[in-house]
Amino acid sequence: MLRDLSWLPLKTDWNAHFQAAKQKPFAEATADLLALANSRIDLIGTQKLDKYLQQNADAARDSLSSARPVRLAILSSCTTTHLIPSIRVGAFRRGVWADIYEAPYSMMTQELANPASGLHQFKPDVVLFSLDANYVAGSAGATAQSAIDDMRRLWKMAKEIPGCTVIQQTLLPVLPRVAGSNEHRFFNSPNAILSAVNSALRSAAEEDGVHLLAIDEYSSRAGVAAWHDPTLWLRAKQEIHPGIAHIYGDLLGRLLATLRGKSYKCLVLDLDNTVWGGVIGDDGLDGIVLGQGNAVGEAHVALQRYAKRLAERGIILAVCSKNDEANARLPFERHPDMVLRSGDIACFIANWQDKATNLRTIAKTLNIGLDSLVFADDNPFERNLIRQELPMVAVPELPEDAALYVDAISDGGFFEALTLTSEDLARTQQYQANAERERMKDTTTDLAGYLGSLQMELHWSPFDSVGLSRITQLINKSNQFNLTTRRYTEAEVAAMMDNPGYLTLQLRLTDRFGDNGMIAVIIGRVQPGATLDLDTWLMSCRVLGRQVEEATLNLIVACAQSLDIRHVRGTYLPTAKNGMVKDHYGRLGFQQVSGEVDGNSRWLLEVGEYAPATTFIKTVEGAIDYRRDLQPAN
């Protein structure tokens, strides 16, 4: 809602990280400090960070070498001192260093006119006019026309400074109404004058080549009451509340970064539960939630519309999804409610590799920097993976409610732009053509480091009555990571619970980001000849690439040993959807038995020869309350 930096991730141990970063030599702490700036900090966190950056200003300025520092002069009619730390941090967050000069307040004309003034000595390359509503529209005899004329005179003087860009802040709508909804008819009303000025500013700024900082628009998101406190206005002449300074600083920081050419160019979209509701590989074309008649389906359509509008103004769209490519492309080609079509996507990556590798491929294919990517994914695991592996990629924190996805991306202001060029309009087509020419190349990433940091625990227990309904749901719903796709009713599953001829396992994965819920189900039948036949092995695709398969096999073998089992037999029965597990048993060290018949394959593992795989997962035995699974964890 733009009351806090809600699109940035909350770092609960922010202070500890900050103290740790301060212990390091500055040059080695830059990445940590950027991550701290790119977390959901408030007034105090912002000031602490700024204070430390100011104490190391020369090193900090040098560390942001990819963009020329900004020299910003603020000319204001009221107090702005309390905004300065936030402006510096807002620019730093986007990789731009800002040196700031604050002119004594209400000395705009004097500072501009006097060649010996502090302003001219500072030699700014950006001048911001931050004029308060009372100053512009509150005095007796004020008119919109004279206010605009005054501003244009100031702009003209500022533009005489060599190489200087001018930013004009729009007026914060804080003046009281004397009439009401039709205030504009009361031409002497300060409120009406203010509105008229804000309206006229758009065209005047356009004509004069001045950029706007549209706090009138942004303050309406959180409410003017959050931006302006009459008490503080009277006490300290702070028109903008210190509690909102970090928002203001971010808004201005975006503009400054954009002036330095630092802006994001590409929106990378996850598919399942981001572009549509549900999982295409499991739910199929008819089963995904998308389109009219369902509020969640409409929320996903709204995200697609927003992405389409971004594309129309020059943002490149890409897809990064854990899916079989054929499944992933199906809705783009065949679903009637899709707004985005294959032609809108400049680079389409759907596979089972980790997403950091895939984002590298996307950047390389499109020939843009990783620092041009914004990655939108509903899954916190993927978001955190990217934040850790590729800190230069912007990863907005998507709320759990799909209806709020658009605001999260929009409020984050990643795609700040100053002008629309014809090149922008043609860009998506151009990138798509390039992408078709490029072949994908494998890249590697430090996945092990990330997995090690996750503190994963695999909780397991035999089937029990508490887990029964979720087990049955998974057995009947899982299509992709499902070796045999055998379906069983709840009664049949319940019968296995009481049958000593069965080895059953329900598995749940937790990590430091939370609980992934029940993620795997194993059914084994004890056969003559000390053999365990794996009737069912299924797993949720959301935990792919996290060594859960290896940890599960370790567990199966341990259970088998306790039952004096000597051989474990696995079967793969191909379907239209489970191609991804074709080599599952082979990858885990099973030997294939005889040839394939109709694609069916059988596999054998000698328990005595099995060396448990090393994983980053700790295995924990115990019953867990599975009822929470009725609402799938995000």
Binding site: D42, L43, I44, Q47, K48, K51, T81, H82, T231, L232, L234, R235, A236, Q238, H241, P242, G243
Partner: protein
């Protein structure tokens, strides 16, 4: 929710230490701006805003005009939390 004077001091101390980035700050009823480096008019407003946010209260203009020392501020918070 009512807070004891000790609880108010403890939370206020956290805010002061945070804002002035000084873990050695110990507040007494007699503490004033003269006792803490950097307690200027700029940080004064930050203190008041952070205090309002932490305690979920709002100071009136007149109350701020009369503020004399930390003891006075604690009293003010206490009265507001009781109301």
């Amino acid at each position: 929710m009512r807070l004891t004077t000790e609880e108010i001091y403890s939370q206020l101390t956290e805010i002061f230490r945070d804002i002035f980035d000084d873990e050695s700050i110990v507040l007494t009823p007699e503490t004033t701006a003269a006792d803490i480096d950097d307690w200027d008019s700029f940080n004064h407003i930050n203190l008041l805003v952070a205090t309002e946010q932490r305690f979920g209260i709002k100071f009136k203009t007149a109350e701020l005009e009369d503020l004399k020392n930390v003891g006075h501020l604690v009293q003010l918070i206490s009265t507001k939390k009781r109301a």
